[in-house]
């Protein structure tokens, strides 16, 4: 429904543009932003940050026009890309592909049409298509989380791990995490999939709690899972025994870190705000003569009580 309104809006703008042919709007640089629709928390944050960045950039640079479209699936996104090129006649594209494989060729076609292409988060299956690549760092997220848990436990203790949905993202995170703990006396009691979902996090943690009498730390990997874990630990009345490390940067968890909650001492970022980074870099291509082409891999910043304020967006849905 939102997408529809946006299309309607875009159509109106287009209509107005046609009506006032050649008046002022001609020199505008159009940047299309294609992202997945807000079907889960992280994507919700993505959409919110894209909208915020759109407002901010358009206010700063009157000659830049940003068009954000969101898609509910890979096919829909491929259609969006065609529309952006043929109907909107964009100069640059910022795209967070729904899935890598099915969108490689559609993005390649945009590139072949002579547009500047920025790919975000999920890389394409063929190298050399995009001018700019912006992404979070999944292995780094796992490594940093492992590093923190090692430090807190002095290389000794028992932990449980809640994994995400079985995908490359999950595997990369978990592999790096396990590698970081190698050679220590930290025992991973078990790892189970909680599918980046609160309810699953709650249930899996309940079962871990009845199965293991001693748990020193929990790596929930994701903030939605972490929220479920928190409730399960509270219910079992074992809050003094362990701490929980989540990931992503959801406002509820950042708030807890900011307030100095003993249960969630830190959070590791995998920020949906990366879409704003990508949009800004793309805009720089047109507003400055600084070279921007290249790969931007964002660090997996550790959020602690000291710096939490910088990452707290109370208005964001995520």
């Amino acid at each position: 429904m939102k997408t529809f309104t946006k299309y309607l809006g875009a159509a109106c703008v287009l209509g107005l543009g046609l009506a006032s042919t050649g008046a002022i709007a001609q020199e505008k640089i159009k940047i299309g932003v294609s992202i997945p629709a807000a079907t889960h928390g992280w994507a919700g944050g993505l959409n919110w940050h894209a909208e915020q960045a759109e407002k901010r950039i358009e206010a700063t640079y009157p000659n830049i026009d940003i068009i954000v479209v969101s898609a509910n699936g890979a096919t829909e996104q491929a259609n969006d890309l065609e529309d952006l090129v043929s109907v909107q006649d964009i100069d640059a594209l910022v795209v967070l592909p729904f899935e890598s494989d099915p969108l490689t060729v559609p993005v390649q076609q945009v590139k072949e049409a002579g547009k500047f292409v920025t790919v975000v988060d999920r890389g394409l299956s063929l190298p050399g298509i995009e001018d700019v690549y912006v992404a979070g760092n999944n292995p780094e997220l796992g490594r940093v989380s492992g590093e923190y848990i090692r430090g807190r436990l002095n290389d000794e203790g028992k932990i449980v791990v809640l994994r995400g949905i079985p995908t490359t993202i999950d595997t990369e995170r978990v592999d790096a995490f396990v590698e970081e703990l190698e050679g220590t006396n930290i025992e991973i009691l078990d790892m189970k999939h909680a599918n980046w979902n609160r309810d699953d996090g709650y249930e899996v943690m309940q079962d871990f709690l009845s199965r293991f009498p001693e748990i020193d730390a929990v790596w929930a990997q994701d903030d939605d899972i972490a929220l479920g874990v928190i409730e399960a630990v509270k219910q079992a009345d074992r809050t003094d025994e362990m701490f929980i490390v989540g990931g992503a940067g959801m406002k509820d968890i950042i708030k807890r870190v900011m307030d100095g909650d003993e249960l969630t001492p830190i959070d590791v970022l995998y920020p949906p705000a990366m879409i704003a980074t990508a949009m800004d870099v793309t805009v720089m291509k047109f507003t400055s003569n600084a070279p921007v082409e290249g790969r931007y891999i964002l660090g997996a910043t550790v959020v602690t009580q000291e710096n939490a304020e910088n990452f707290y967006f109370p208005d964001s849905p995520f």
Binding site: A38, H40, R198
Partner: protein
């Protein structure tokens, strides 16, 4: 059809009838034995209470689904409906905090909203499919998409979180207990008892069986088919509402990923319990056992690392098929001959 089968079974041997009704119970006992063998912690009071409490959501929804399916219908919208009603409850209660404060009134109004929405949503499914003469599969597939989008829209793609003050007041509805039995388990039991009486001891229940067996014959027998069928969807909506009332205080949140695939779990619980998917025969206690079985499988898989995580779905699928085969398959008849 089903009544024919039953008479045939009862005449052939006394062993068979018992087995058919007891099938789901025996499968559950089997699962419990398996769980105990796998991990001692399985039979601990905490774990058992976890299983029954968790089973309450799907179980309550599945009791409603037993009515719909017995009367020859199907409702695919229950998972989305649960997410939508949870979301609406949270929005209403958060708004009320400003005027009424975070008190019991706020929670009661939230619960009232949930019940009204459940009845309304069920009535829409029922009326559109009966009066509109559209297959229930299509109608509820449509409403499934509608409710799912509505909750995503309300949450702006993110998560709706209940006000922390209200959470404190509302919390005992999920986490509380009476004489050591968790509240959700008591609610589940009460819903099942009411469902059992309604389905097996009232004219309404008999009409559900009749319509599910043969809608034409039921119509000729002066049964108000449309009215009864619509009522089954209303009961389903009401059950979804009861489930959300105990779901919301658990994590105090709703998002687009709330209740995903609950409709399939509810339908699976109903069928495992011995109700016929094509209608005409329903068994509430079977449904209750079916829901507990589904939860138990997930619990057992979490208690062991013997099976690769990637194969969890396969194990679940296999156990469901075996459980239904044990009570349905031809193997019993051959043995008795």
């Amino acid at each position: 059809m089903s009544s024919l089968e039953r008479t045939e079974a009862s005449t052939s041997s006394g062993f068979n009838i018992d087995f058919k009704a007891l099938g789901p119970f025996l499968a559950l006992v089997g699962l419990f034995v398996l769980g105990t063998v796998i991990n001692d912690a399985f039979l601990s009071g905490g774990n058992l209470s976890n299983i029954f409490t968790r089973a309450a959501f799907i179980g309550i929804i599945a009791v409603g689904a037993t009515f719909v399916i017995t009367a020859g219908g199907i409702d695919l919208s229950v998972g989305s409906m649960a997410a939508f009603i949870s979301g609406a409850m949270i929005v209403v209660m958060n708004t009320l905090v400003e005027t009424l404060g975070a008190g019991v009134e706020t929670v009661l109004i939230g619960i009232l909203v949930s019940v009204l929405l459940g009845i309304a949503a069920g009535a829409v499914n029922g009326l559109v499919s009966t009066k509109g003469k559209i297959e229930a599969f299509i109608v509820t597939l449509g409403t499934m998409g509608i409710y799912r989008s509505l909750v995503t829209y309300m949450a702006d793609g993110g998560t709706l979180s209940l006000d922390f003050g209200v959470r404190g007041v509302y919390r005992p509805v999920y986490y509380g207990d009476v004489l050591g039995i968790p509240v959700p388990v008591l609610v589940f039991f009460a819903v099942a008892v009411v469902g059992y009486v309604l389905l097996n001891m009232t004219p309404f229940g008999r009409k559900c069986f009749a319509i599910g067996s043969n809608e034409q014959v039921a119509r000729y027998s002066a049964i108000h088919v449309d009215r009864v069928k619509t009522l089954t969807y209303v009961i389903q909506g009401l059950c979804v509402s009861v489930a959300t009332i105990i779901y919301v205080p658990r994590l105090g949140s709703a998002s687009s990923s709330t209740g995903v695939l609950w409709e399939l779990e509810a339908i699976a619980a109903v069928i495992i319990g011995g109700t016929m998917l094509k209608g005409g025969y329903g068994r509430i206690w079977g449904t209750v056992v079916g829901a507990i079985m589904l939860t138990t499988i997930g619990n057992i898989l979490n208690l062991t690392d013997a099976i690769s995580n990637y194969l969890n779905g396969a194990v679940q699928g296999l156990i469901i098929i075996v459980a239904v085969f044990l009570q349905r398959g031809d193997w019993r008849r051959k043995k008795s001959k």
